[in-house]
């Protein structure tokens, strides 16, 4: 059986002309299985949102797929008509965006917004649409009485829950979450994450979880992909990535979060700026900021993919079998 989502060698650019002025995602391969949480972490501008939009079939011009493919359950999304894609969205593939509390229409009752979304997919009130929506409210743990409320009557956390409810009301198999909790307080964030974790076990959907907060991902994701300048530089199971990070960028990103305890010591974070994607550096794009740069190799030769383990790959000269072969 093909995996739920299979991204292979995907390259995405922005721009009307060829070659496009910005290549935002380059050569990314990733799979997501049913019931699995795959986390994507990276700084702003690393291409994580572009990757998610393209994988959900939501990429709009001037963004376009330059090469590679995205298949959902074995079907290449690029071969689907806009109409077929529209049927896929919400019913099979759903997305929750950052600050999505603002996604809800402020002058419509929540129930009407659910009704519209479901009617667009052919689920009408006669089919017990209301009951299905209310059951989804139970799942995301909002009291049913809020079903008839307007969005402003809900707190920020509850609005976010309502948006998640809307995203899963048709029981999609794949859910994209793009920074779903960044605008929320820690306690609210934690309770929403717990609900999400329960739901994916209960309903069995796969999740692509995008965030800049790596420490959060280590806790909730089964696998984590670290993106830098459009490429996945390391991919590994969550714990393994935390315990044995291989790519210097992963290590640097992890040390960007001050720990909650232990002795106070100075952290340096990541010096420098991410590269300008209009004008990417040659070789490894992290080389200019890398503390372990191999002079003469990293700046000129594209880094090879090295497998540290069966499910742990890293894009770095430090680990390539052929490191040193390049002159």
């Amino acid at each position: 059986m093909p995996p739920l989502l299979e991204i292979s060698d995907l390259t995405i650019g922005y721009g009307w002309r060829l070659p496009p002025s910005v290549v935002a995602v380059r050569g990314v391969s990733l799979t997501v299985g049913a019931g699995e949480i795959v986390g994507i972490a990276g700084e702003s501008g690393c291409g994580k949102t572009t990757l998610a939009l393209a994988s959900a079939g939501l990429l709009d011009p001037p963004g376009r797929v330059l090469s590679g493919s995205v298949s959902y359950q074995g079907t290449d999304l690029a071969l689907l008509s806009p109409d077929e894609l529209r049927h896929l969205h919400l019913a099979e593939i759903s997305m929750v965006f950052q600050a999505s509390m603002n996604v809800l229409n402020p002058i419509m009752r929540i129930r009407d917004q659910f009704h519209d979304a479901m009617a667009a997919h052919g689920v009408h009130s006669s089919d017990g649409a209301r009951q299905q929506a209310e059951e989804t409210f139970d799942l995301v743990k909002i009291p049913r009485r809020f079903f008839d409320a307007y969005p402003h009557q809900l707190s920020g956390g509850m609005r976010q829950r309502a948006v998640i409810a809307l995203a899963i009301v048709l029981r999609p198999k794949l859910l994209f979450l793009d920074e779903p909790t960044t605008a929320l307080d820690v306690v609210v964030q934690r309770s929403i994450l717990q609900t999400l974790d329960d739901l994916r076990h209960q309903l069995g959907f796969g999740v692509v979880f995008i965030t800049h907060d790596l420490s959060l991902l280590v806790e909730i994701a089964d696998r984590i992909a670290i993106m830098y300048a459009g490429a996945v530089v390391e991919e590994a199971p969550g714990r393994q990535l935390y315990e044995k990070p291989c790519h210097p960028y992963t290590t640097a990103l992890m040390s960007s979060f001050p720990p909650l305890g232990g002795p106070r010591q100075r952290l340096e974070g990541i010096p420098g700026q991410p590269p300008d994607l209009r004008n990417p550096p040659k070789g490894c794009s992290f080389a200019p900021r890398c503390p372990e740069v191999i002079t003469g190799t990293c700046e000129t030769v594209d880094p090879p993919t090295a497998w540290r383990d069966r499910d742990h790959r890293v894009l770095c000269h430090l680990y390539g079998e052929q490191a040193g072969d390049h002159g």
Binding site: E43, K141, D185, V187, R190, I220, L253, L260, G261, G269
Partner: protein
Amino acid sequence: MVSTLGLPAETSEDPSPALEVRGLTKNYSIGRIARQKVVRALSEVDLSVEKGEVLALVGESGSGKTTFARTIAFLERPTSGEIFVGGRALPRRPSNHRLREHRREVQMIFQDPYSSLDPFHSVRYSVARPLHSFGLVPRNAEREAVEELLDQVGLVPAVDFLRRYPHELSGGQRQRVGIARALAAQPSLILADEPTSMLDVSIRLTIMNLLLDLQRSRSLSLVFITHDLGAANYMGDRIAIMYAGRIQEIGPASEVMSDPKHPYTQLLRQAAPSPENERRQGTQFEGKGDPPDLTALPPGCPFAPRCPFVQSRCEEALPDLRQVGAAHHARCVLYE
């Protein structure tokens, strides 16, 4: 180069704290006259910040931490309570002259570097403005002073930044301009209101390090407001936890983090993302996320409705801040 900007006047023999507030309260009235409600944003806060100390103030949105900073800076007039800066009381209705003095001494760094700089003003203008509005530097030395400030906040070479406008700067660079502008007034106290929460992860640390370096080299006092416990632990000598407009716990950073006393601090500590903890099956955060309604605060502990250790007396009267360690206080009946 001769420094045109000296350190703040040497006051080491003066034992009074950099900032002291007593019973600081701020209420806002909302709604039409007949149905007016009072939002209790800040209630009877007693706090002091020593000279050269960093106090990290932690709380959720709506906990009153921004109101605290704005009242200290006198951007909002406190409803009641007293503010002392460097031992000098700020009168309830300060004269214009006194207010200017206060606003020079107490500077703010704001959360959003995209809206705290005037898009029509160059970096040079923004940073120079405090210099001449407080008459700190003669006109002919102004450019040099601005360059030195930009240098100190890491905008190098400074000459390149003088003529730039905010839209030509990244978020981190804008925040550095905001810091330079605050330093230009030669303050003794800086109130930094979530200065890193709008910035990218890799930039946050560099801004925090910059603030720490400046604070140490200029022996400034800093109130660092954040909702991120990790950042509070990194920055603060002491940490104060705020909830519903009151300080619930205050103490040395390491103690508050390693041995939180107030149930609210414990909840925050457990909820904060941290890879060291395995998935917490044990703690359920369900229904614990709702912040209190500041227009209808209960007579007792405002955290009682969410507290796992709630007792009947919690709802009767507000507990006092009790000593729970050498310099560690918590407001909870568990320690009475």
